[in-house]
């Protein structure tokens, strides 16, 4: 089921020549598809003439389930959307709900949200860089990157007791304040993480084989990135300077000094490199946020357990590790959402795959897929 030949037939090419066209099925269980993606690939020799992703193998109907849960009970469902970066979906949902119900969030909670989300960005990018590298054969990089990710997971575990599904960001604040000594561990992590990033940069991006595999593969132009609704590192790798933290500033992000790394060629190399540099920027934000954070309440007291916002609809979005993640909520005055829609960045980015893969070799397909960094919990929802 990993890779198998579906059909083999002769087709007449545009110039009159006859080629043997292979139709190969990749997935839905394949180590390089980052989950349960299936790609039906039409091949001329080893060159991809058409790649058609088939998604939905992890479609769990979260949007329908939310319609029969109270507003608070939806938060754990959002954890399972983007399981590499659960904090983002938590936060995006809470922001939409806070906008709908008019809930004010204490300042310390905003800082805590920024801190965990920037750590989540590092953890998510480490997973993405590592697995994308392993797809092209650089398994050592995966081990270095996973070591860094594991350190953040440990910090999160200390903070909220879970390794993956945190349920940490709640409407009106966060679920726990930081434990004693946590902030110091986080700062110490930032210092060691910078050194580790530099080492990874040399190890992977300095490797001539990795550069050959990544450079010039899957080139996405800036105009296409905008028209196809790409966001996050995929759009920024093509030179589109679009980051919601800068261009639609939310929470306390305007108070931090950070840069938005962008690429220029829009190939797999630039997309991966942008992720690496974003980790440096996340460290900067993390240190500033910890320095600026002041004691105070970490959640709004006196919120009713049954929130019933007035009828209306609200949308809010944040910059997740994969791009702009939005949640659209429709309320009808009852304690349950009337409709929840998750605008998933990975879904929009994955739509680019047929365009990017065309004309490349079959072995480049997994590199391109890895550089788009899809998480199928979020793609399929």
């Amino acid at each position: 089921m990993s890779v198998e030949i579906e059909s083999r037939e002769c087709v007449v090419r545009g110039d009159g020549g006859v080629v043997e066209q292979l139709v190969v099925n990749v997935g839905p269980s394949h180590p390089s598809t980052h989950g349960v993606c299936r790609v039906i690939v039409h091949l001329d020799g080893e060159v991809v003439t058409k790649a058609e992703p088939v998604i939905g193998y992890l479609h769990r109907g979260i949007e329908k389930m939310a319609e029969n849960r109270t507003y608070l009970q939806v938060v754990p469902l959002t954890d399972r959307l983007d399981y590499v970066g659960s904090m983002y979906a938590n936060w995006a949902y809470c922001r939409a709900l806070e906008r709908l119900a008019g809930i004010r969030v204490p300042e310390r909670a905003e800082y805590l949200r920024v801190i965990v989300c920037e750590m989540q960005r590092i953890a998510s990018h480490m997973m993405s860089l590592g697995s994308a590298a392993a797809d092209s054969g650089a398994a050592t990089m995966f081990i270095y990157a996973f070591d860094q990710r594991e350190r953040i997971i440990e910090l999160f575990e200390e903070l909220c007791g879970a390794r993956l599904t945190y349920n940490y960001v709640r409407p009106g604040g966060v679920s726990f304040d930081v434990p004693e000594g946590w902030v110091e561990t986080a700062l110490a992590f930032c210092r060691t993480h910078r050194a580790a990033l530099t080492e990874m940069d040399r190890l992977y991006f300095g490797n001539v084989i990795a550069r050959d595999r990544l450079k010039g593969v899957g080139v996405l132009s800036a105009a296409d990135a905008v028209a196809w609704g790409a966001s996050g590192p995929v759009a920024r790798g093509s030179g589109v300077n679009f980051d919601l933290r800068k261009h639609d500033p939310y929470s306390v992000y305007p108070r931090f000094d950070f840069d938005v790394p962008t690429g220029s060629n829009g190939d797999c190399y630039d997309r991966a490199r942008v992720r690496l540099f974003e980790c440096y920027e996340s460290c900067r934000i993390l240190e500033q946020a910890i320095a600026q954070m002041e004691p105070g309440p970490f959640r709004t007291e006196g919120l009713p357990r049954l929130l019933a916002p007035r009828p209306g609809d609200a949308y809010d979005h944040i910059e997740s590790a994969r791009g702009s993640l939005g949640v659209y909520l429709v309320a009808d005055g009852t304690p349950r959402p009337y409709r929840m829609k998750v605008r998933s960045p990975a879904f929009c980015n994955l739509a680019l795959l047929p365009m990017l893969a065309e004309g490349h070799m079959l072995s480049d397909l997994v590199v391109i897929l890895g550089s788009l960094d899809p998480v199928f919990g979020e793609v399929d929802r």
């Binding site: 089921m1 989950g35 193998y57 992890l58 479609h59 389930m65 399972r80 399981y83 996973f146 070591d147």
Partner: protein
């Protein structure tokens, strides 16, 4: 515990050395249980913990368990994550492609019963045991990597009771509480012979 588990001592003390006596079942179960190659059927969140279990910190290899994505190379399928109606035929087909003898571990609440996706959803299969014979269930959403390792050790206990002759299979007797890596300190009366 089979004699083969103490190969070293047995060899030295045996008459003349170099000869041990054991049953064919014990030898077969020993070799099956000690190198369980896993087919990581990771679909959702649990797949992250499955990866974590096989990496630096938790190091699955020391139990002889090594993830191989090709079903034809593997002995145990670790179903880690939600199985949807669209995915179920693929999982079943992968299971059928595995060579006998084969086992199934259901990792996480979704694979056990649908977990958080039991109610209200139209597309989730409520538990992988609707279409696969599951040997070990590991609860958690997601379970910690240590739990997965414990599950593999439990599977070994089950394998140790098997036989190459079907009518000699003994019923598995599992010891409780868990002998896994998580320990909460000794409770009174614990540690003595049960």
């Amino acid at each position: 515990m089979a004699l083969v588990d103490r190969l070293g001592q047995t060899l030295d003390s045996g008459s003349g050395g170099g000869i041990i006596l054991t049953s064919v079942d014990a030898l077969a179960n020993w070799s099956r249980g000690k190198s369980l190659w896993a087919m990581p059927m990771g679909t959702a969140c649990c797949a992250m913990e499955l990866i974590a279990a096989s990496f630096n910190k938790f190091d699955f290899d020391r139990h002889g368990t090594f993830p191989r994505p090709d079903p034809r190379h593997t002995d145990v399928m670790v179903v880690a994550g939600t199985i949807t109606r669209k995915m179920a035929p693929a999982v079943k087909r992968l299971y059928e492609q595995m060579a006998d003898p084969k086992w199934v571990i259901a990792m996480g609440n979704c694979a056990i019963s649908g977990g958080i996706f039991y109610y209200d959803t139209y597309s989730v299969v409520r538990g992988v045991d609707e279409f696969l014979p599951v040997d070990v269930y590991i609860a958690g959403c997601p379970p910690r990597p240590e739990s997965l390792q414990d599950g593999v050790l439990r599977l070994r206990e089950i394998i140790a009771t098997g036989s190459i002759s079907p009518d000699r299979v003994r019923e598995a007797v599992l010891t409780l509480p868990s002998s896994g890596a998580v320990s909460f300190g000794k409770r009174p009366g614990e540690g003595e012979a049960r």
